[in-house]
Symmetry: C2
Subunit: 628 residues, 2 copies
């Protein structure tokens, strides 16, 4: 902690010595691995040493640290090792070796590292998420975001600055390693930027220091911690500092030293060369899975709401009501729930929650990149976190942010509204017909598309109570409530949502239409039209668009025809999941997939569907053609 | 053009009258369609009328206009109609009707509209692309980017500002419709932002005006056109201006007037209600496909280079050499060629081109969103345009920018290097194992993954000479040159790349391994290992990862086993293309797909492959298991 006025001479001497040793570690591990980023690791080193020596690293309310320029991992590892938090020899020997946790870019779970990074420009957004967690949990922790200067070019950082200012995140401190070099050369040459003016223009405070003077670093960190605004510390540094021939050479941004250079550098540092020892050690294996350390939550998922047709309830409104109910049930018991929105609250139906829980509702503005990351980070802090947005913004625009969330094993519940051609008149830019195909690439995401308001309610509660990342997709229009023959809602009382289950909406022996979401009621219409022609088709609802329900599919494999029907790109929705299954099961019937085959028109949903041959009439014709 | 000092009184009277009529058009078309954005259309209207009356709209070197807040389309359509460039009645009657070009968000091809928009925050980047085209073609045209105030929150705009400043794009003028409202309310409430300070901090000039005073608009446009720096005009406006009850009400951002309000508004404007006429007319159909108007190019694709193993040529270097050769052959003949890079020139191998053609090389810095869009826009201006970046930045980070490029039918050649687990030690954030799955969602993109340097050379030349968007994917490592039995390169003399063709690398009767890129040489090793066990497998190279080559596949369908093998997410690469084909052809053999099943490790490529069971040893075992 920052209790003293300044560092003692002994403190400084100690840091200097650790810095000398750590520099040796950095150049040794990168030389040994033959890959890595020594230059920036060394320019950031004195900041790391000072910060990790004085931040509060103890207890549940410890400070959170995000290293946004994750490629300076050798600097982080050697700092943590020299401060006794990691084993020195293993860090050096197993850097960038498969199965070891000492990856090329820092990963979450390394002690006191709270966010896996590698993609530049996202770290401040993650820091904002942690700072929001600290504010709403009132735990007094501080968030430090260490950044490179090159990455300041990324626009997402401007978004994060505005968010931090809006929500008064005075508990966040940015430290920029301003070594003035990026891969391709001087930052003034690659992409001139007025970093200080940029921060000031967004109402941050800026402190400029010598990033190799421990007392200046300490004083700035102390001032920043007590400031009323978010503070950015510009630390003027030297790439390769202290190893004369490396200094200010961009070459060493991403290249290890060769054998001769290595020898020379160790000489300059006055350190013994233990390379043979490490080479031998590296032949072994050192595995350790940095735990994802996801805070536990105690979610009361509540009782499901059941809607009837006369309630005129669309899926996104059902989401909004479930969200509000989750707030009601949990917040008063101390299990925090929060929701993020990007200037669409009344469309994505977070308004009720926002009104009831203004302290836990975060309006992120038209800044989707920042919002997706901030929400992802907050979701790892024991707060049940929803991010509601139009499909095209919540996954298309933010795919890489959601990907980094996924790598970080976040616990984010993304509510995508306005997916599909269902969006209608807003046109092709707003018609998200790729969300399933995109999210399928994210190994820890579960995508669910409920088909009516009742199923939506249950899916939202399921996702809330289940750890991990979810994508719950909803359209714009109101889709009819599904009823059983006894006039009771299919997804009402007696129904429990099970991840992976398919719902048999209607049986049939001439074929099956497999579908989901807003196409289910359309498929039932097609079924009727086919019945009028003497054909009896099953209709299967597949809300878990990546999962095969063996129990249901086993029966379908023997049918003469299977059709997938979706409000999604025909190639990347459920069709590949079904064909993958069918080909393995030796399906002998006819298969056809129906979905969007081009960017959509701007018009009423039904008209837009028609232009893609997805209306009930065209579909009936197309299926009848298959019968020939 | 801006020849006079100021507008005459008659000019102003004329604009006032057009504005009155256009306001009627706006509220009529949105009321009629029951959807659309009247508020911002009206606040932007006087800017549109003044700009479209005075910009140079004639000839090849006409000014380019980007309406970034594309939802103000009613304002654009009514302006163009009232200025005689569109038919008034059709614009009103067919707004947001499927098949009509008068979409909810403006689309390219509407007269003088050069970029389809809808996703906020990308317009200035597109404008930068057009301004760069104007600079390198030296045609003296000016670029106007009309923007909303809410969208200023998007970080990509900061990136574009820096690009414009760096490249001295004084031929670009931004006009912000500063009505101070966004969907959810006042911009100060939703996300406070210092727009003027933000622009000034990036060294732009700022002019503040009354956005409803024609002479102020005219004077500012004139000043901006002649300025030495890029200029941002902040036009203070009133949402719903001139219709008292609509003024400054955020409600009318995205909601049309109801019947009573409509009547009242038409009364205020002193206009006759022709609603019945338009309702009747709207029952008809009015189709017109706004031509994509892609400028023709005359590309000399040149003679292919052929490499041998001793050339030690990796695919990305082969790309760099082909790029430089394309520059050599075309630029001197007046067919411009350019390349964009994001601070990775030496890795993505654009350095040779950059050195030879510094005027046509654009270093975009660590600003991928902006770069992808700027490159996309430039590619529509008759300039052969390459965008080279790591896979994870060129498509994962910029998916939504590439999607809007695709909607705009750009002509962009994206060279993705460092795809796959092949990236090795940089670890999971940098291992792009989803590029095929992502790009498959883009209807007009062609994705090609060449398997050696020779095929790369030919693919690059093919993409250069072929209209449309391409993704050419390359790894980090050097992969061996493929040889025929006669010791001549497979993809050397006598080989012509054909889009959609599969290459039979080896025949076999016990099964086939279908693969591409850096897995081809691995598959040949697996084939050898299987041969040692008495199994004879074919190896098929499938560089066009979305295409079935009937000629080749017809034979494979009769094999007892088919395996897909890829350095990509197992679910979203070529496997779905193959299963889709096999299930339709009634394939009776065994099928298995191999690829990445989790985020990758940080280590040597071979080790990383091994952790996913993709090394030759694990693969051979897995295939032998299939034989049982």
């Amino acid at each position: 902690m920052f209790d003293s006025e300044r560092l003692t001479e002994k403190d400084v001497e100690n840091l200097k010595e650790l810095s000398r040793l750590a520099k040796g570690d950095i150049i040794t591990m990168t030389h040994l691995a033959g890959t890595g980023h020594p230059g920036g690791s060394i320019s950031s080193l004195d900041i790391y040493l000072t910060l990790f020596s004085h931040a509060n690293l103890v207890g549940k309310a410890r400070d959170r640290i995000v290293v946004s320029h994750g490629h300076t991992s050798p600097g982080v590892y050697s700092t943590l090792a020299r401060l006794g938090h990691l084993p020195v020899d293993e860090v050096i020997a197993f850097f960038r070796k498969a199965k070891s946790p000492f990856e090329g870019h820092v990963v979450k779970g390394i002690p006191f590292i709270d966010w896996s990074t590698g993609n530049l420009g996202q770290g401040l957004s993650a820091g904002c998420g942690f700072a929001m967690a600290s504010k709403i949990k009132k735990d007094g922790s501080h968030v430090y975001v260490l950044m490179g200067d090159g990455e300041q070019q990324k626009g997402q950082i401007g978004e994060a600055r505005r968010l931090a200012k809006k929500f008064g995140l005075s508990n966040i401190t940015v430290i920029i390693d301003y070594n003035k070099l990026q891969i391709s050369g001087g930052i003034e040459k690659v992409m001139p930027q007025n970093i200080i003016e940029n921060f000031l223009s967004d109402d941050w405070e800026v402190i400029e220091i010598n990033g190799h003077d421990y007392n200046e670093i300490y004083a700035a960190l102390k001032t920043a911690r007590n400031a009323a605004n978010p503070v950015c510390i510009i630390a003027n540094t030297v790439m390769g500092n202290g190893i004369s021939f490396m200094e200010n050479k961009e070459k060493y941004h991403g290249s290890p030293l060769n054998a001769a250079e290595y020898k020379e550098a160790m000489g300059i540092l006055g350190l013994d060369d233990k390379l043979d020892f490490y080479k031998e050690k590296r032949k072994g294996v050192w595995t350790w899975d940095p735990s994802s350390d996801r805070s536990d939550m105690a979610i009361d998922a509540g009782m499901s709401f059941t809607y009837n047709e006369e309630d005129k309830m669309d899926n996104r409104s059902a989401f909004g009501k479930a969200l509000k109910d989750l707030g009601d049930r949990n917040i008063s018991k101390g299990q925090l729930v929060c929701a993020f929105d990007c200037d669409l609250a009344s469309s994505v139906k977070t308004s009720d929650f926002a009104k009831a829980y203004p302290d836990y509702f975060f309006q992120g503005g038209i800044q989707e990149h920042n919002t997706a990351t901030a929400a992802g980070a907050l979701s790892t802090a024991g707060v049940l976190t929803f991010f509601a947005d139009f499909g095209v913004f919540g996954i298309d625009e933010t795919y890489n942010q959601q990907r980094l969330n996924d790598i970080n094993k976040t616990n984010l519940k993304t509510a995508l509204t306005h997916v599909g051609l269902d969006v209608g008149p807003d046109g092709k830019t707003h018609q998200c017909v790729d969300y399933i195909g995109l999210a399928r690439n994210l190994y820890n995401f579960k995508t669910i598309v409920p088909c009516d308001a009742n199923q939506t309610d249950r899916v939202v509660r399921y996702a809330a109570a289940t750890k991990g990342n979810f994508l719950i997709a909803m359209g714009r229009n109101r889709w009819p409530i599904m009823y059983k023959a006894d006039k009771k809602p299919v997804f009402g009382e007696g129904y429990t949502f099970q991840y992976g289950a398919m719902d048999v909406m209607a049986e049939g022996k001439d074929g099956a239409i497999i579908t989901y979401g807003g196409m289910v009621y359309r498929a039932l219409k097609i079924r009727e039209a086919l019945a009028a022609k003497g054909m009896n088709f099953a209709v299967i609802n597949m809300p878990c668009v990546n999962e095969i329900d063996e129990k249901v599919m086993t029966n379908l494999v023997n049918l003469p025809r299977i059709v997938t029907y979706e409000d999604h790109n025909r190639l990347t929705g459920i069709a590949p999941v079904i064909t993958n299954y069918l080909v393995r099961k030796g399906f002998k019937g006819k298969f056809e997939s129906f979905g969007a085959t081009k960017y959509g028109a701007s018009g009423d949903t039904d008209e837009v569907m028609e232009t893609q041959g997805l209306d009930a009439g065209s579909m009936t014709q197309a299926i009848l053609k298959m019968m020939k």
